[in-house]
Every structure is written in C-alpha cells, then in structure tokens.
Symmetry: C2
Subunit: 475 residues, 2 copies
C-alpha cells in the first residue's frame, strides 16, 4: 500500500504494459526473461556512468547541479526582460530545439502576441533555418531597437548561424549605430572558436558553455536556459525537476529506473522484434516541440555506423515525430495496418491547464449527442487510451509516459529522463552518444560550393559529379 | 536541342540520378533493367486509371477540371473576405492538412499579423486538434463577431470536429445571438451524415463535397480551396497548375511521367533495396506544410494490410517529415550513418522570393569570411546540393524535386504530382489508395469510453483491459 502510494507520488510515470507479451501475446511482446537478461549489462553501464560522473566527463549531468553556472544566465535573462521586447535565437539543431521545446511547453501558445504587461518576459523567436524568405521576413518585421539576438553555436563555426549573425550585425548597425553591440549576446565555448574570438574583439556580452556539452544535451545549459528565463519560465523549477529525475534514476535497477527501462525496451524492441522506427506521439499541442527535440536526441545519439571499438553496428531506430489526436487522422492507418516495425511512444497529460466543456446540443443525435457534458480534454485522453489499446489488441508495441501536468518541474523531469534514456541506450549499443561524425562530409562539400579557402578539392569534386549527371534521369 | 528546351520549360522537375546505380554504385542503386521491368505494369495501371476516369470513379482527378464546382467556392470565399477578419477551419487530418499546406506555401509567414489592408484576404487558423489548452486559447483570443468557422468533415461524423463545432456554436450564440448561423460554413457530403442534417435543419451555409472524395485527396475540392481563396490565394492558378501536371502525366511512359517514375522508384527502393522509410525534406520553410500533407497522403494511401484481392501485403514506406537545412543538424547523422533503410526526397526552390545578402564582414577570418557577398538563399541551395551528394557518395538513395519558385501554379503542379504518385504506387502494390479501414477499432473504443450509445461492449472491454494492467510494468 505504501509502495503504491509512493509510486503515485511521481508526477511523471512510465507505463510499458503494451511492450510485454502479457498484453501483446506470446512472440509479439517482450518477456520478463528478455528484461532480466539485460539487468547485468544495466549494472555495468550504470557503474560506468557513475565513474564518468566522478571523472567529470558527463557535463550534461553536472550542469543540472551547478549553481555557479546558473547565476550569469539568470542575470543576463533579467537584463533581457528589462531592456528588450524581443529575443531572437540564432542557432540550429541543438542550439534551437531545446529553447523551442521549453517555450512551446511552458509559455502560452499566443505568448508572442500578448502585450508586455501580460507577458512573463520577452517574446521569443527561434531562427533555426537560413531560408531567406522566413529569415528576411522576420528581420523586416521586428523593431530592431527592441530586439536582443542570442547567437548560439558551441563550436562557433556553424555556417548557418554565422551567416545569420553577419546579416543581423549589419542590420543592427544600420538601425541603432554603434550601440549594435548591446543587441548581441553570444553563447559559445568559453575559450575557442571564431565566435569567441569575435566576441572578445568586439566586446559582446556572452555566456560560456562548459567543455564537452553537445547541442542535443544542452537544454539545461545557457543554450536552453537563457531563452527560457528571458521569456519568464521558472528555470530553477525546471532544474529541480531534472535533479529529481537524476536522483530517481541513480539506480541500476531497471524496474525502478524509467529512463533505463525505456532505453532497454527500445533496444530490445529493435534487436529482438525488428522495430526499426519509434514514433514519439504526445497528446498535447504544447509538447510538439519536445517530440521534435527528442527526435534529434535519439537520432544523433544512436545513429552511428561504428561502436566505440570501431566495429560496425546497425544501431538505432529512426525517430518519428507525431501528434495526437491529430495524426490519428493521418498516420494511424499506417501504424495499425502497415509494417509492424514501430514502437509508438505516447505522452499524455492527465490534467490539462484549460477546461473546455462540450455543451449538450443536438442531444437527440446519436452521432454527437454523447459528446455533450464531457470536457474536451476528456475526449483527448479517451482517444489516447483507445488508440494505445487498439494498437495493443493488434499486437503492436507502445508505451505511455503520463505527466500530471505541464509545469517547469515536470518538463525538467521529462527532458532529463529522455537524455538518460538515450545515454543508456547508447551504452547497450556500445556507441558514443556524444559525437556526430557523419555530417562532416556534407559540410565540406558545402564549403567547396561557397568558395571557402582550403576546400578547392571539394569544389572540383562537386562540379565533376554535377557534370556526370544523366539528363535521362531528370524528368 | 528543342527537346532539351522543352524540358527546361517545366517549372517542376524531378531528378532521380541518386537512385540509380550509375551514381550510387552497383548493388546500391537501381538499374535501367529494374525500371524497364515495371514499364508493362505501368501501362496496365495507366489504362485502368483512364478507365476509372471514364467511369467517373476518380473524383480527385475530375475536380481539377470542374468549373461548376469552383463557382460556389469562389462566391463563398468572396463573402468571407468581405465580411470577416478571421477564418477558422474546424477539421482534422485531410480536412486540415491541405488548407494549411497551401497557406504556409503561398501566404507570407506573418500573414495573420498583417493589418487588413496589407492582407490579401482573411486571417487563417487551422484548428486540427482537440487539445483544450490550444483550442480554448484560440477561441478566447478571437473576436468572434469577426470570425467565420468552416466546419469540415466529409462523413459529418468526425468526433473531434463535431466536438469543436458544438463548443463553437454555443460560444457564437453567446457572442452574437441568433446571428450565430452566419458565422458557420459547413463543408460536408452533399446528402448524408449528421453534419448535413444539422446544416439543413439550422439553415447554415454549406459547400458540398463530390461523392468519393477522401480527405487526403481533397485539397483541390472545397476542403482546401475555400480556405485558400478566403485568404486571397489565386486558386484558379492553383487548379491550372494541377491540370498542367495532369496533362503532363497522362502517359504510361515512366520516362516522361514524373509522378509515375517517382512512384515506381519508391516501390522498387522498398521491394528491392529494403528502404522502409521515405523522408520528405524540403529546403524551404514554406513547404513544411506540404511535407506534412504528403506524409498523410503516403501513409494512408499505401499503409494497408491487404491488397484489393484480400491477400496479405507489406506495402508502404513510413513517411517522415524533415526540413532542410535545419534537420542537417538533427537527423542527417542518422541518414548518413544509421541503417541504410531510407530514401531522402528533397524539394528545392531555385528562385526564393526574398533576397538576403550576407555582408562582407570579418573577411580575414577563414571560418566566416567566405560567406560574405553570397545570398542566404545560395547557402541554402549549396547545402541541399552538398547533402544530396554526400548521401550519394555513401551509396544512399535520394531524389530531388526542383521548383522554379513557390507560386500557386507551381504548388498546384506539385500537389497533383504527389497525388498521382501515391495512386500509381498503390497500383504497383495492388492496394486501394482511397480507403483507411484500420482506424475504426480505435474510434469504437473511444466511443465506448465517452459513453456513446451502442458501444457498451467496447466500454466493458476497455475497463477489463485497464484492469488487467500489471502495475509492475508502470515505473
């Protein structure tokens, strides 16, 4: 009884009944033995992570405990809230997805269109693409004298972000003269990289990233926290949530550790049941950004060709972002009747922040009379329950993370849980979750096309390959 | 020479060099023989489609030629533009994705925040989910006296849309009294369904859908065209584009038909090269909605368990929506180094509507000096070219659709091409592209949960299954 009460005390819970053969049927689901067989490896991975923590090589873990790191972020955020109407993040990938996930989850949908006195902080725009139509349109639309640009690149070398920075710097100088410097805040490595050099030379304000933090594990660093705090999100509560989850998951026991259990289940689903796809499907518009953030975390952490011993590995599931109930009317047909190669990962919110009652109208009509008197959120939750069950009845794997609500404390738990899940899964696959070696080739070719010095070979290769194109294969 | 000029005259072209063994290497790519082996089946499928057109069983095709069908849509849209500030679509899945795709592609990103005199038509909000936070928030925010609600459901039975309708109808009556009727426009079947019955009884304005039009093929019907026209999009040009593509693809010759060729290539990639995933990756923010729309089209058209002869079939690829250049910093690592189970389908825009020059600053720094003097759109296109080539160098399949620009005429071509591609691929798999039988089970269970009469058995089943849950499998 006490144990069950204690369980209920968690505001984030993880239900994997529909991964197991007890719900899906023998052969379809996983068995207790499957999980037990991983317990030894879980212990070994947990011991290694503890050792890495002691050695200071898990900055993603350490930053949620760092009070010193938080101070300059909060100070800078306060200044932004006092002085500026708009904050624009110039960043891409991990420099953008965390801030957007927090903003969508924790600020109201119409945050940016609220008047200042009804807003908890600055407006937020995340410019994570270099489409000239969107980026040019955004700059034309903003009052630059009221806008702070947060340039975010860990390496300081990201071509897209540097291009945005150059454009913004010039426009700012045109708009506000030499005070342009006050409108730039740079988040980058503490010591190295071209952005850091420029920041020193120009005297821009800046925030330093701890060494070794990569984008997809940076949401609890200045990368995610500065924009969140500037818009008015309680980042202390967010970090407290992350720490709570860190504590809860500081055990090698799969049965007590939702992050490890989730990682183990996805590993087993892929290895033993050939589920090559995992679909992250929150039933909450506010969590669409979290799903997007998760897709990067999962893809870049696990999508490796070789393991840490340089042995070939076919590791990861392809993550897919979905949204309930909407995608029931778009993707569910495929999830039910298409190839049985997916795990569907639901997120549900037990207590939505807004009650919207469906009125009792046309009560005589059987097709809609039954809706009256229910809350719209009830319908949403009923659809999630029904969809999970319909999948399970067909023997199709799915999990459900249930959140009590959408608060900073709960989102802090959720994101930290996903990070631990990805790191643990990487441990099972034997791959390095913190590198992304495969994107270099494309970067070099793009440098060649843009005429960057030192990339003449790539430029020639590109031209040669373009020249080899067969016009017959262009319709 | 003339032939090559004629080819260049197309404003939509399809480049599949990187699907072929000439670019990817033997064994990796497809061969000419692979394609030639499908040519006979292409002829048979084309002949059957022609026959269906003669029999009037391809309404998705016929509607782009129907001048009669267009008149009431244009009249209704004109009234909306004159009388209302806001148009809210209440619809889900195919009732929402087409309108949103057109709006994102063809209206400026900040359309809704422009003052009326700078806007070509009404604002547009697509309410395609029943999240109470978002939907309640939207209704609270709008001036209902200035708002038209377009309730869209082909069957008239869609629970989510009916729930939205009930809520809106009551709020309208509270806000504007008996004139609430003027604020509702119903798009549904001409004769049948509860929405049609209510529309008749209440005297709402309405648009009728041709029989047999399903959501994912409805973008060129009132479902997609009314919202588009109300916001000021030139739907005549859109339809002209669709007709142009219909004419271009009215041939069984794969080598002249981009829709059939694309369908054939994806079929072959899945059947012969085990590419179970296709990634739709436009390099244009404005086409994110098109990618989303395509994902429904592909998933629901092909995601079938049985073919038309009731034989088991493992058909479709799982469609994934991606965005360039953004997702180079999120998903590309997986596409390059993860399992080789994907076709990446790029869309690029040769002439973006906005020029944004990157200024020559910090020219001495090799990491960013090379960017100065280029246009931001050049960088975007260079990255697409480089990414496609990097994938091909690794033997990974990809295609590129190149658009001259983003105009109604071009988007009309593109969407119609994708529809034909899906229908043709369904022909190759032998499945019915126009049904979606698998989503019924979940609907019945949800009815049971909501207490709808006639679904007591489902309610009992649900309770029983919930009761069987093993608490050990909840962490």
């Amino acid at each position: 009884m006490l144990a069950s009460l204690a369980m209920k005390a968690h505001t984030v819970s993880f239900d994997f009944n529909n991964m197991m053969e007890s719900a899906l049927g023998r052969g379809k689901g996983l068995s207790l033995a499957d999980l037990q067989a991983l317990q030894m490896r879980a212990r070994a991975i947990h011991a290694r992570m503890q050792e890495m923590r002691r050695n200071g090589t898990t900055p993603f873990y350490d930053i949620v405990f760092s009070e010193n790191g938080l101070r300059p972020i909060l100070d800078m955020a306060e200044r932004a809230r006092e002085r500026f109407e708009n904050l624009v993040v110039l960043g891409i990938g991990g420099s953008a997805l965390g801030a957007r996930a927090l903003h969508q989850a924790l600020n109201p949908g119409h945050h940016n269109s609220l008047p200042r006195e009804k807003r908890s902080g600055t407006r937020l725009f995340v410019a994570d693409n270099i489409d000239p139509v969107t980026f040019g349109g955004l700059l034309d639309q903003l009052d630059l004298s009221q806008t702070l640009f947060n340039v975010i690149s860990r390496s300081g070398e990201t071509a897209e972000t540097l291009a945005q920075f150059l454009i913004v710097r010039e426009r700012l100088e045109r708009a506000v003269g030499p005070r342009y410097k006050e409108h730039l805040l740079v988040t980058t490595d503490a010591e190295r990289g071209p952005l850091r050099e420029i920041t020193r030379a120009e005297g821009f304000r800046s925030l330093a990233l701890p060494p070794g933090i990569v984008g997809r594990y940076s949401v609890f660093s200045a990368v995610g926290l500065l924009p969140a705090a500037a818009t008015g999100i309680d980042v202390r509560a967010l970090l407290a949530g992350a720490r709570e989850m860190a504590g809860r998951c500081d055990t090698a026991d799969l049965w007590k550790n939702p992050a490890y259990m989730n990682g183990a289940l996805h590993f087993l689903a892929q290895r033993k049941k050939r589920k090559g796809i995992c679909v992250m499907m929150p039933y909450s518009d506010s969590l669409a950004g979290v799903a997007e953030w998760f897709c990067q975390l999962w893809a870049e952490s696990l999508g490796k060709e070789r393991d840490i011993k340089r042995k070939a590995v076919v590791a990861p599931q392809c993550p897919v972002r979905s949204l309930g109930a909407t995608d029931q009317h778009s993707q569910l047909q495929l999830y039910m009747d298409g190839p049985d190669d997916k795990v569907i990962d639901f997120i549900r919110v037990e207590k939505p922040a807004h009650a919207v009652e469906i009125p009792r109208l046309y009560a005589d009509k059987s097709d809609l009379g039954y809706l009256g008197g229910h809350d719209l959120g009830e319908l949403l939750l009923a659809e999630q329950t029904a969809t999970a069950m319909a999948l399970a009845k067909k023997g199709r794997m799915n999990t459900t993370v249930a959140l009590d609500g959408v608060t900073p404390h709960i989102i802090g738990q959720l994101l930290f849980m996903f990070q631990l899940q990805a790191v643990f899964a990487a441990g099972l696959y034997g791959v390095n979750p913190f590198d992304q070696p495969a994107v270099e080739e494309g970067k070099r070719l793009a440098y060649g096309m843009m005429g960057r010095g030192g990339f003449e070979k790539e430029r020639r290769e590109l031209k040669a390959r373009q020249g080899e194109k067969n016009n017959r294969f262009i319709v």
